[in-house]
Amino acid sequence: MKKELFEIISNDIAAENIFKMELSGDTSAITAPGQFINIELQGYFLRRPFSVCDWEDYKLTIYYKVVGKGTAEMSCMKPCESLDVLIGLGNGYNLAASGDRPLLIGGGAGIPPLFGLAKRLIEERKQPEVILGFNTYMEMFLVEEFQNLGIKTTITTADGSHGTKGFVTDAMADKNYSYIYTCGPEAMLKAVYEKSISSGEFSFEERMGCGFGACMGCTCRTKYGNKRICKDGPVLRKEEIIW
């Protein structure tokens, strides 16, 4: 965990209400895909948490959906503006558990961290496959980037405007996988949990006071005791989750 200044490299619309922001700054605090950053916004008391989509030395990418005042304000930011960021937050996904053919399942604004994960799984010579769920065609993002990694990419849309009509779970049935990594709305996580035949890891969201474990603002119950989503999570192992 570090507190760093980042500079906006680009901040462009990627799909309906979804923006891609590239930031430059010290990324050395990131230790695993699935971790997040917490961004200070002028005029707002709380920072805003976003999953790291991808990173390299001195550069990282996030994708964010405009859902409220803070994200609306972010969407107006310009290159060269700087942001105060807490980085390297959360546990992130455990790559070692993946097995050979992990299945990555993402829904909407939960998709970004799976991209960084997929890249690193490939680097470790695994064969990940991915299911991406969207509401509708207009909200699709990151699809090409996944395809460019050369991995099998299945799309579902709730309204059938692209790919399989339905939810990500509708595309799970015929898959053969060693492990599941997933991130998305809680209802989706739960459906995936119930449908999944392997072990896996589930990334959760919660409103956060600090994002680094100080305030107990984000605690959830697990089979192995209380866990703070921000510090002991956001990724929980399937075995510990209590719904």
């Binding site: 965990m1 008391f45 709380l46 807490l86 409103r207 680094f212 107990m216 603002g217 984000c218 605690t219």
Partner: protein, 304 residues
């Protein structure tokens, strides 16, 4: 060289800056960010007799210049705190430790305070009779002079070795009367304030954001009210005051001390910026020079 040290009940603090209960974990977690030995003292998370999960999530919401929390006193219980958490903290930290004791009954306060009194790791006991986030909980003790005095008396009867500070709720009409009642019942000091009962509604879902419906507001938004309460209590009592509420800069510390605080606690600011206390402490000397203050001790109540 300016002198930032202050003294509470004979205990010397190298500076008046104390992270507030509930915003600094058990302290050792912040050692990741900086050497916490620069702090004046540490006030640990509110502790009850039994372990508590606290409230359901969401526990956090936002307001202009402030945060709402409804954590609901999540903690592992007084035994684990004294036996496991505090030793971890003491291992790396050599300044005073303030134990924040919460409860749901007079007996519970007494039980926990007695334990804290016995522990060699606790320097000051802060009795939180002001938590707005638990039902039938602390806050009701802190909103009338009578009940505040009663808890104080009960606790003072069994605590023999350590100063007892009573932490008051701002959700009270006459804070000075409550403080006075605590003083008369033997309190060694007053901490104020805890959070304001507040809420937010999610307009999209048309439901309260917090699972607990209401939560406690703190942060810069409440600073002018906290300052006024410290001012009033300073005029009502002679025991030292720890000023709390919205402090986020060295200037805020000085303003709070001018109102009558001997030391201050910094809460919400730690959550926004993990370095908040460290930065305030580093900024204090130059702020003091700017305002011609040689010794912080000398300005306590200096605005009156």
């Amino acid at each position: 060289m300016v002198d930032t040290s202050v003294e509470l009940n004979g205990i010397k603090f190298q500076n008046p800056v104390i992270p507030a209960s509930g915003t600094f974990g058990y302290g050792y977690e912040f050692a990741h960010w900086y050497d916490i030995n620069c702090l004046g003292a540490i006030c640990i998370k509110g502790t009850t007799k039994e372990p508590r999960f606290g409230n359901d999530c969401p526990r956090i919401a936002e307001g202009p210049s402030g945060i709402l929390n409804a954590v609901g006193l999540e903690n592992p219980g007084i035994h684990k705190v004294l036996d496991e958490e505090l030793p971890k903290l003491r291992h790396i930290y050599h300044q005073p430790i303030i134990a924040n004791i919460s409860g749901f009954s007079k007996d519970e306060y007494v039980y926990c305070c007695a334990k804290a009194d016995e522990s060699p790791l606790v320097d000051i006991i802060e009795v939180n009779i002001s938590c707005p986030n638990v039902h039938n909980g602390g806050m009701s003790f802190g909103t009338s002079p009578e009940s505040a005095g009663e808890i104080t008396k009960a606790v003072k009867t069994i605590v023999h070795n350590k100063p007892v500070y009573i932490k008051l709720s701002p959700n009270a009409m006459d804070i000075a009367a409550i403080a006075k009642s605590c003083e008369e019942a033997g309190a060694d000091g007053i901490s104020l304030i805890n959070t304001f009962l507040a809420m937010r509604i999610d307009i999209k879902k048309k439901k309260p954001i917090l699972a607990n419906v209401t939560g406690g507001l703190s942060g810069p938004a409440v600073f002018p009210i906290a300052l006024r309460m410290v001012w009033q209590v300073y005029e009502a009592v002679r025991i030292p005051i720890i000023g709390i509420g919205g402090i986020s800069t060295a200037d805020d510390v000085i303003e709070m001390m001018l109102a009558g605080a001997t030391a201050v606690q910094v809460g919400a600011a730690n959550l926004k910026n993990p370095y908040a206390c460290k930065k305030i402490i580093e900024d204090l000397p130059s702020a003091m020079e700017r305002y011609g203050i040689k010794s912080l001790k000398s300005i306590i109540g200096g605005g009156h």
